[in-house]
Amino acid sequence: MPALFEARGVTKRFGGLTALHDVHFAIDQGISSIIGPNGAGKTTLFNIFTGLYGADEGSVTFRDQPLLGLRPDQITALGICRTFQNIRLFANMTAIENVLVGMNSRISLRLWDVLSRSPGFRRTESELAARAVSLLDRVGLQASANIVARNLPYGDRRRLELARALASEPALLLLDEPTAGMTQGEASALMHLLRNLVADLGLAIILIEHNMRVVMEVSDRVTVLDHGEKIAEGPPREVQSDARVIEAYLGKRGAAPRTRGRAAH
């Protein structure tokens, strides 16, 4: 039985620099985290998974369909969506409009429907709006629906990005440091939310995280990247005590990553 999403032997070079070397990765369900020091290639991996970069070698499949060579919007339409490390909302659009844009790949209206305001158009628009509201509700932003994204507080923007990604009805969600800049309390609440998403919608989630407490708490599996190579993979407890991981994070002297709240900083 093949996995929902699988990457094999992914290699990416930028000029002379090998950003990723022969990385294998698979996820079927639940939450899987990718950790590693800064510059380990985590975000590059996401960019390849979502079609923003090509890969030099290897293959990526989703439900057995090869993804490499597809455009980002085609990949989103297949059911993979993401958030960004440095929040990339549509700054001058309202929260609900941001979410509505996320639904774009699920809309099958034609130009003529829009121009004629056909019954199908009206129905779809009101359905979309209702769904957008319920998504905002889910991340706790319903009251901010009409606020322009750039005026939202930082934590809300992170959650809005999550709602926008969910709007495309993904089966696989890629989150790039979703708790960055959040307090421990906010981070825990967000993780709770993610757990619920997995339980309610059957979503699979790949998480890039620096917050080790979050990672250990929420992940079913953890993959560790260092200098573009996978150095460990397994359940959180195992990875935590892996000698290579400890070395990658702390150099040769060190204690376990757990003792430092945010290991990579």
Binding site: L52, E97, L100, V101, M103, N146, S168
Partner: protein, 397 residues
Amino acid sequence: MIRSLIAVALVGLSALAVATFPRSVLVFLLFQGSLLYVFKARMPDPLRWGLLATSLLVLMPTIGYFNSYYLEVATQVGIFVALALGLNIVVGLAGLLDLGYVAFFAVGAYSWAILGSPHANVIFGGETFPLAGWWFYVFLFVGLGTAAITGILLGLPVLRLHGDYLAIVTLGFGEVIRVLANNLDKPINFTNGPKGITPISRPPTPFGIPYGEFFYFLALLIVVAVIVVNRRLEDSHIGRAWEAIREDELAARAMGVSLVRMKLMAFACGASFAGVMGVLFSAKQVFINPESFTFLESIGVLAMVILGGMGSIPGAIVGATVVTVLNLQVLKGFSLWLNELKNAGVTVLGYSLADLPTQFEPAKYERMVFGIILVLMMIFRPQGIFPARRRQRELAK
């Protein structure tokens, strides 16, 4: 209540003033200002729309009946409003700076000019042309389609470019179209070169309305259609996708927006408005040549959009009105006035105006007007005089 009374009084008085003074810049501006007041001031909606409809459908044509000059200005304003609304989609909504927009206007204009005049006989031989006048109505749609296809053809190769490179390429494209219009009088004479094409047929008008009124009403009708289309696009997933591209192209792609489709659609929609107006323009003018389709015109339309506010429909309308009136009336009016003073031998602070150099013609300084508008707006008010307002949604719970 008071506002409503003021509005009625303003519209009535200014219309009366326009009827009284045959060629006054000020009173015409006053008339337009009163329409703007009606549009913006708080008053019951039926009154607002009633006043606007009366002014545009009854007062303006009546004034025009006695004084065709104002009707001509109003028609030109209408043409530029449609152009500004078209460019607003491309620049304001989708954030693609198109510096060759007037090329689409040219495509529409030449499509009717060539086939609606005897000139087509030169190309195809025989005596079939000009097409009968009623074909004009068909050509409104032909012009729309041809311009939209041209927009797509231009869009296809330039899609990969963004920002300032796109701007330069569209500028180059606009220049190419103009050079072609100027030189395609050989080897086959398509455009008759700089000499232009004339006479271009005019259509039979319903109920025998005079041409001045006819073109005014047609321009008004097209403008209304363009506004409706514009609003419907804006309030749909298409408009949202355009804005998303403008805000963050990369994030938009990652959220499932197909850049190719959406950019092409923006180009095609914007171009189609210009194409329709091009057909109207060529019939109204009877004569066209490449001079009407220069870079200057493209920048003029851009200045209208910027002045009003990128992405804002009322902004584009106000911007187009102000800039057109500024060019057609204020600059020319100033020229005339200065000439009168010169001829009267007036002196200012001991300087006789009669000594003003003859080459100093204020009417010719359109570029300076456009330039000042663009720079000042960018520095002090990049969102324009009527910034696009975010739609506030009713949230049913």
